[in-house]
């Protein structure tokens, strides 16, 4: 599988970088955060991103998509990660839209994907219930009622859930928490009675929501995929999300590293630049090596997704665990290397560290993914 970008991909990467640097430098995230923006992202910018095709890179042409690959989408995530762009790509396109793409019927796909591709609808995935990512631990129940289903339960860390117009809710139609069988996906409109969405603000300036479902009544047509076979739809969607999150984390960590390196070359103490001290040099070199390995596994995973390779689940967990660890190391080291200024809000480096740490917890920390990888590998 290709681990080197094609000319077209290099060009796309450069185009994305130029766009992001011009339209959404890090100061933009700060503005959204400090103004307590109602949506938490720039709607006009999102419209432009959709017009450039970013919202539909991986969708088929039939639904207004560009029918390109996850490698391309990964490059967009990487470059956005470099600039900490607040955008609804993950929640809307990859998670919510991804479930419809993977398991939806033609009517659902036509309605949802076309709207997402045009930047006209925001989605999210309501999956997590406890403090950790545990996709099979779903306890939220959906009972058959009035010709449809009635959903009761509560969800947390629903990314961009406060602005989502539709939620893909994962509920249990049979079995017990922990069972792989018995999960069902429902497409639920945000205004449905009994659905209560509470915005939560995260330390990275981004937003999620707690979602309470008290007897939310949906039609049978709201079901995505087969009843009780939601895991079949969910798992490949989560793997693709892991691949692009890893790409974003690679971008964020790379930018934090570049900034720390620049600081090492300019900040003077004891009459010399601090980058001449071996105590810092070796740590910088160590981070560089970890980033090189990270880049390889991110590319390997994205291209495996595009090739439809059988080991995507293992690779996705491998990539996420690696990027969790690399982003943790680079984020923390970068703050330390900036010294006193590094712990101020004024200096941007802290924003990179905080974003990395939120993503670290998103869709599974490293021990979760090491355990999953082990299970997939038969140990």
């Amino acid at each position: 599988m290709a681990l080197v970008l094609t000319e077209e991909q290099e060009l796309l990467k450069q185009t994305v970088r130029d766009f992001v640097q011009e339209k959404s430098p890090v100061t933009e995230l700060r503005r959204l955060r400090d103004s307590s923006d109602a949506t938490g992202f720039d709607g006009a910018l999102w419209k432009e991103m959709a017009e450039l095709g970013w919202a539909s890179v991986v969708y088929p042409e039939d639904f207004g998509g560009m029918d390109m690959g996850y490698m391309e989408l990964g490059l967009i995530f990487e470059e956005c990660g470099r600039s900490l762009v607040a955008h609804p790509l993950l929640a809307t396109v990859v998670l919510g839209g991804g479930c419809v793409l993977e398991g939806g019927n033609e009517t659902q796909k036509k309605d949802v994907l076309t709207a997402v591709a045009g930047g006209e609808r925001l989605l999210s995935l309501a999956l997590q219930e406890g403090a950790h990512h545990a996709p099979l631990a779903v306890a939220t129940r959906a009972e058959e009622a009035d010709g449809g289903y009635r959903i009761t339960g509560s969800k947390t860390f629903v990314l961009d859930g406060h602005v989502a117009e539709q939620l893909v809710v994962v509920a249990r139609t049979s079995g017990d928490p922990g069972d792989r069988d018995g999960l069902t996906l429902f497409l639920v409109d945000a205004g449905t009675p009994g659905l209560e969405v509470t915005r939560t603000r995260n330390m990275d300036g981004r937003n999620a929501a707690n979602v309470n479902l008290s007897g939310v009544q949906v039609e049978r047509s709201a079901v995505i995929g087969e009843i009780g076979a939601g895991a079949e739809v969910l798992e490949p969607v989560l793997d693709r999300a892991l691949a692009v999150i890893s790409a974003e984390m690679f971008g964020t960590a790379s930018e934090a590293f570049d900034r720390a390196l620049e600081y090492l070359k300019t900040r003077e103490q004891f009459g010399v630049v601090i980058g001449s001290f071996q105590g810092l040099k070796h740590r910088a070199a160590d981070m560089f090596v970890e980033l090189e390995l990270s880049r390889s596994i991110v590319f390997d995973t994205l291209s495996a997704v595009d090739a439809g390779a059988g080991d995507v689940p293992s690779l996705a967990s491998c990539a996420k665990a690696r990027l969790n660890d690399t982003a943790f190391q680079v984020g923390n080291e970068a703050v330390q290397m900036f010294g006193g200024i590094g712990v101020t809000d004024e200096e941007e480096i802290g924003l990179f560290m905080k974003r990395a740490r939120v993503l670290q917890s998103t869709l599974g920390n490293s021990s979760y993914h090491r355990d999953r990888f082990a299970a997939l590998q038969g140990f």
Binding site: L3, V273, S276, A285, E292, L293
Partner: protein, 397 residues
């Protein structure tokens, strides 16, 4: 049929006809590795036949030019050959520092006469080469080496001492860094000499390691006369050759960590199930499971990085000091792997010899002890970090 496919057919049938059945069996011990050389230690008839045939064909060094006895294959053909060798379970006919280190440097820096003389010998495995680099006072600071070579007209007179000379007790010739000018900055007075270990004045004394094995030696030179024509490149410009050769060495050592099994015939997951218990097909101890998983993931990331480097090279992207990354990460990962294995094996990995421990356990204990040297030989991990900081990141001295 494409040319490459035709070559595959040719390679396949040639291997089929020429590789003795005994050379298609798994290598069970280091003694079975063919290092070439005059002494022919442990060389069975089958080993000799396989070495001679492969050497004659030039396929011990598939991509080296035909005019010096190499295989003259393109990189793509060499890859096909490698695949067919693997498919046929054919052992490498020859393992040598001549192939992995000296040869590439000679092809780049030696005179036409030297190439014509030395390269074919390497291809055919006639000479067992060893490397005379480190000295007691010149380890990480290799360029401060003191072994003198005085210009005596038709020859150089060599006096001094080398250390960590791998297999010097078995080698036929040495490629050696010597000081030809002590009055200039240290990097500018070094030359690259080749000479016969049977020369009068050369003595060798093996060093026993913490693992119990003695792959390294101390090597002493007292008034050794080396013919003038055995100096490679320009006099006093040996450091350039030395550095290039180190890159080849680092790639080689870094690559050793990649064969995840190492000396073992089974992987860490199976070993962990044996020693830490098995529960529903999983390693019962969650901490051990987590550590094994971490290691397997590291190996995947490292493997993906070596593949990426190969793809970049193919795409014409300059390699940069990648060998330092591979040397550093490959050896550190190999050390972590052995640390993990002995922690999994518990007290069964504390044995030295005799009863109470099986061969796998005793072997692993020795391999673990041997792995301490991985992050030292060929340039310590700290030196690799220095190189990355300076050459890649541009951090100042």
């Amino acid at each position: 049929m494409s040319d490459l496919e035709a070559f595959r057919q040719e390679a396949r049938s040639w291997i089929e006809e020429n590789c003795p059945p005994a050379m298609r069996e798994r290598v069970e011990s280091p003694d079975e590795i063919e290092w070439g050389g005059r002494a022919a230690q442990g060389r069975t008839d089958d080993r000799k036949v396989w070495l001679d045939r492969m050497g004659e064909k030039g396929w011990t060094c598939p991509t080296w030019p035909k005019e010096y006895g190499g295989g003259g294959l393109s990189k793509a053909e060499a890859k096909v050959l490698q695949e067919e060798m693997r498919e046929a379970h054919a052992r490498p006919a020859l393992t040598s520092f001549g192939i992995s280190m000296l040869g590439p440097a000679l092809l780049e820096y030696a005179s036409e006469e030297q190439k014509k003389h030395f390269i074919p010998q390497i291809v055919k495995g006639e000479i067992f080469w060893c490397q005379g680099y480190s000295e007691p006072g010149a380890g990480s600071d290799l360029a401060s080496l003191q072994t003198r070579a005085e210009d005596k007209g038709d020859h150089y007179l060599v006096n001094g001492q080398k250390i960590w000379t791998s297999y010097a007790d078995k080698a036929d010739w040495i490629f050696c860094l010597v000081r030809t000018n002590p009055d200039v900055p240290k990097h500018d007075g070094i030359s690259f000499l080749l000479f016969d270990m049977a020369s009068p004045g050369v003595t060798v004394s093996p060093i026993q390691l913490i693992s119990g094995s003695s792959p390294f030696c101390q090597t002493f030179f007292q008034d050794v006369e080396v013919p003038r024509e055995q100096l490679v490149g320009e006099v006093n410009s040996g450091w350039t050759i030395a550095k290039r050769l180190l890159q080849h060495e680092r790639s080689m050592i870094g690559g050793m960590g990649l064969g995840l099994g190492g000396g073992l015939s089974r992987g860490a997951p199976e070993i962990a199930k044996d020693y830490c218990g098995e529960n529903d097909g999983r390693i019962a101890d969650p901490v051990a499971r987590d550590r094994v998983s971490q290691l397997q993931m590291d190996a995947r990331c490292y493997g993906a990085t070596t593949r990426r480097a190969a793809e970049e090279a193919k795409a014409g992207i300059p390699p940069g000091p990648a060998s330092s990354i591979f040397k550093l990460y490959g050896t550190e990962m190999n050390k972590r792997r052995h640390e993990l294995l002995i922690s999994i094996m518990g007290t069964q990995a504390t044995g030295w010899d005799g009863e109470g421990f099986n061969a796998e356990e005793l072997g692993e204990t020795r391999d673990w002890l041997r792995s301490f040297g991985n992050s030292i030989e060929g340039g310590t991990s700290e030196v690799q970090l220095n190189i990355i900081a300076k050459r890649v990141l541009g951090l100042p001295d």
